[in-house]
Each structure stands twice: as C-alpha cells, then as structure tokens.
C-alpha cells in the first residue's frame, strides 16, 4: 500500500440486512492511472463506488480519497472529485447548457475543459439550448460525461462511462481518458466492456461476491493467465492433450480441439510434434478470458474471438 494513493479502500465491509455485499475489500489506486473495476452485477462494484462517494455508510472499514474518509470527512474527500451520474439523473426540465452550468457551480470550479469534452464527444453546441427531455440516451450520456469532466477534477469515478456511446465516439473518449491521465489525473472506472477496459486501463481489480479476486496491472494479469488455442488434427488427440501439463481441453468437435494453456507452451509443442497437426491457432490471452476464468465460465463458452 503506497502512502500517495489517491483512492484507498481499507477492509470495506457492507451488509444489507443479512446479505453481505462487500466483504473486507482492500483497494489502492495510485495517482495518474486508469484503474478498471470489474465484476458482474451484484458483485459489489456499485456498493464500493457508493461508499467512496459517501452515499452509504460502511458496516466496517473505510474508504478514502486523497486521505480523507468519504463518510466522516466527505466534503474534503469530494473536493476535487468528478463523478459520472447516471444519465437519467440529470434534470429533464433544464437545458443542456443550464445543466452544465449548474454542475460547474456545484463543483465550484471553472468549466475549463467543457469545449474540449464537447468536441471529443461530438455534442453540438446547438443541442445544448434544448431541454434534456428531448435528448436521446447517447446525448444524455455525453452531457453527463461533460458535466463530470468539465472542471478538470483530480479524481474521476466513472460507472459504465461509454454506455450509449457509438463506437467512434467511444474511441475518442478513450483518447480523452488517456490525455487526462497523462495530465496527472486519476480515474477509477467500472465497465462491462472488457475489451474497452483492456484497451485503456493500466490496472484492473476484479471483484467477486464482494471479495477482491485480482488486483494487478492488466498486462501482468493477462500474461499469467490462460491462452486459448484451437488445434485441427486428423488424429484423435483429446485424451493425450488432457495429459499435457498446463493444458485443459475445453471442447472437441471431430478433428477440432479447443484448449486453454496455462504457463509454458513447450510441453504442448512437444506433444504436438509427435502427432499430425493441420492447423494450430493460439490466441493471445485477453482480459475477457481472465475475467471469465475468475468466474469459472471459460469451459462453457465458444472461442470468444
């Protein structure tokens, strides 16, 4: 645990009645990183984020932003924080520009990045004069993102930031995130889009049943996890493949065998050298494979590529 952590979660536990939503969770987000926070619905992501924002009181443990306890010292904790609210939370009776002005005044900061964000997200200035009630979901999301970023906060907490954005705008938004991190900002984001997290996050935490199951740099996490391979062979390799160290057969269909490989490739290559092989495709490990590995779902899936 580093002393200069921007966000720190210490033994956070939260119960809802008898249900344990988060169980002694520890997280440390260093400055200048994009930190991915992954887990399916109900894993405890939202509870953790809400505790960080001071929206709920931990049953035990605590959350800190810039060293300030989110619950006990919330004003200081949120002093330089940007949070992406759900697009449905914006005021439907306000115009886009009034909404941005309102958000900036609440942040007590000048909207120095407003133009930059609006350009990146391709949100027309003309649209801003319209009431939010006339906006599409994507436009609302762009406005909510602009409201979160416009005062250039030191810390950004983004829950599903690209939800509702088209792929082109998503890529421009990703560039924007990289730009802010290069400027020294820290971003904690949750997403269901694992490919997106893999592209932009330097570090990722995976939460399962309220517990942390992985917390590492994305590259490192991927490297030490499974690769997925497909082998085509006229010979029946299934039983033999299963005996190769680090190899697990996830499916066989005639001459096609799908396997996962953990660790060194040499034993597999040595085994294949003794058998006729028509084709061998080894896919680089991806965050998605890692994620489903933690959730024990790899065996049931087709090759995800």
């Amino acid at each position: 645990m580093t002393d200069d952590a921007v966000i720190r979660v210490e033994r956070l536990t939260r119960r809802y009645g008898r249900r344990l939503a988060v169980d002694a969770l520890d997280l440390t987000v260093p400055p200048g990183t994009i930190y991915g926070f992954l887990g399916p619905n109900g894993a405890g992501k939202t509870t953790t984020i809400r505790a960080l924002l001071g929206f709920l009181r931990p049953t035990s443990g605590r959350t800190l932003i810039h060293g300030h306890d989110s619950w006990r010292d919330g004003l200081a904790a949120r002093a330089r924080l940007g949070y992406l609210v759900e697009s449905g939370a914006l005021y439907a009776d306000m115009s886009g520009s009034a909404q941005l002005d309102f958000a900036a005044r609440l942040s007590q900061g000048a909207p120095v990045l407003q133009d930059r964000i609006l350009d990146a997200l391709e949100l027309d200035r003309d649209v801003l004069s319209r009431r939010l009630g006339t906006y599409s979901k994507g436009m609302r999301q762009k406005l909510a993102l602009t409201a979160a970023f416009q005062t250039d906060p030191d810390v950004l907490i983004l829950d599903e930031p690209t939800d509702g954005l088209d792929p082109l705008v998503q890529r421009r938004f990703e560039d924007l995130l990289r730009e802010r991190v290069a400027a020294g900002r820290t971003i904690l984001m949750s997403s269901h889009d694992l490919a997106e997290v893999e592209r932009i996050c330097g570090h990722v935490a995976i939460i399962r049943d309220g517990r942390l199951v992985a917390d590492q740099p994305v590259d490192e996490l991927i490297r030490r996890r499974l690769r997925v391979a497909e082998i085509r062979s006229p010979a029946s390799l299934g039983a033999g493949l299963a005996t190769v160290p680090g190899v697990r057969v996830t499916g066989s269909d005639g001459g096609r065998h799908r396997i996962t490989i953990e660790g060194d490739l040499q034993p597999l290559l040595a085994f294949l050298g003794q058998h006729p092989v028509e084709d061998l495709i080894i896919s680089p490990p991806r965050l998605e494979d890692v994620f489903f590995g933690f959730y024990g779902d790899t065996s049931g899936r087709e090759d995800p590529r």
């Binding site: 939202t46 509870t47 809400r50 924002l53 001071g54 929206f55 709920l56 009181r57 919330g74 004003l75 200081a76 949120r78 002093a79 924080l81 949070y83 609210v85 759900e86 449905g88 939370a89 914006l90 005021y91 009776d93 309102f102 958000a103 005044r105 609440l106 942040s107 007590q108 409201a147 907490i157």
Partner: protein, 270 residues
Amino acid sequence: MTGLLLLGRALRQGFYGTLALLLGLFVFELIVPPVARDVGTEQLDPVLESLPPAIQAITRSSPDLIVGQGIQGYLTVGFTSPVFLLMICAGVIAFTSGLAAEMERGSIQLALSRSVSRLTVYGARVVGAIVLAAAFAATGPLGILVGLGLIDTDEPIDRMALLPTAAGIFALLLAVSGVTLCLSALGRASGQVVGWSISWLVASYFIDYFATLWSALQPFTPLSVFNYFDPTATLVRAEWSSDNLLVLGAIGVVGFVAGGIVFRLRDLPG
C-alpha cells in the same frame, strides 16, 4: 452560495404547478367576499344553523361563531373549506416530497458527489418549504383583501384579523412541511412520501371531524394537526392563538430537525 443555488433549483422544479395553485387559491379567496355579500348574510345565517352537525363538522363551519357576524363571519369559509386545505397542503407536500423524488431519480447525486454537504442540500429544502408556506399563507388573505376591495359594503370589517389568520395558515403549513420533509428524508420514492403525508392529514382531518360527532374520540383530538388550526375563531375574534401557533410551529421544527438528522445519517437509495 451553493445553498442558494440548490434552493433556486428546488423552487424552479414544479414552479408552474405551484404558481397555478397560488393563482387558484387567490381566485378562490377573491370570490368569497362578493359571494357573501350577494347571497346576503341574513339568508346564509339560518341555512348555516340548520346544517346537520356532520356537515358542519366536515366543512369545519362554526355557526356559533359565524352567525350574526355578517360578512366578517363568512370570510372564514375561505379558510375552513376542504378545497382550501387541499390546495395549500398540496403545494407544500409537492415541494417537500421533492427531496425523496431527487433521491429516487438520482438527481441528488449531482450535488452530493461534489463538495456539497447533505445538510446544505437539506437546508435548501427547509428554506424553500418556509418560503412556500409563507407564499401560501399570504395568498389566501391577500385574495380576501382584494375581494373585499371589490365589494361595496357599509359593514365594518376588521381587515387586521387577516394577519393572525395568515399566521395560523403559515404555522399549519410549517407543521405539514416539517412532517413531510421528515418523511421525505426517510423515504425512497416521492409517491411513497406523498402517500404517507396525505394519509396522516386525512387521518388528522377525520379525527377532528368524527370527534365533533362522537365524544369517545375527543381524547384523541390533540393528535390531530387540525385541532390547532382554527381560522374561524382567529378571523372572527381577531385574536392571535399563541398556543396553536406554538404547537404547530413546534411540530414543524421537530419535523425539520428530525428529517435533517435522518438525511445526514441515511444511505442514499441506489
């Protein structure tokens, strides 16, 4: 500054609805003096006295105070009518249940995810509720005043009696606002809060109503908020009922404070 910003936002939400209610209230009160004059209080007095007790109770009319008082007595109808009570209570309930509506929609996160305290958010609602209570309390008597200006009568009318009447309305609305804001701080959805608040007021109204018909209910009348709202006596006797004002004010303050404590400590609904 942030508090003022939030107050402005809260007051702007539902602004046109509130304005329509205030206008409706003004017009409702405005027509009371001309109607009393045109129908004639000599004709109205025997009708009022012949009303069955149940009707007298539900309209909260008090023949013993009104009969013989001329137009001054019939002005009280403007403040005892269920229509009047419905309009003023609807105005403040709609506003104070707005806190729960903001939690339900998530809009409250806009402020609370920034360096804005929960007490600032809540305080803006309290100030807004007081402003609205004052607006509704002033509008009714103002309508009566303008209505009196429209009629030509030689009867002596004590216009100053409208001041303690307005104070009584203000105190009643403070109590309704305090309780509803407290419910709003506790609740998860505005519909739920409106339901609780209306149930409380309806129960209060019927305790007050049935107690006049069934003496067994008399011991329970102190539990009714309407037990402390008597515009007829106030307007006819031109007296300040400090006991009633204190009780209603205390209910309001306790509601506001309890709501503030709850809102400070509660989890925001997700």
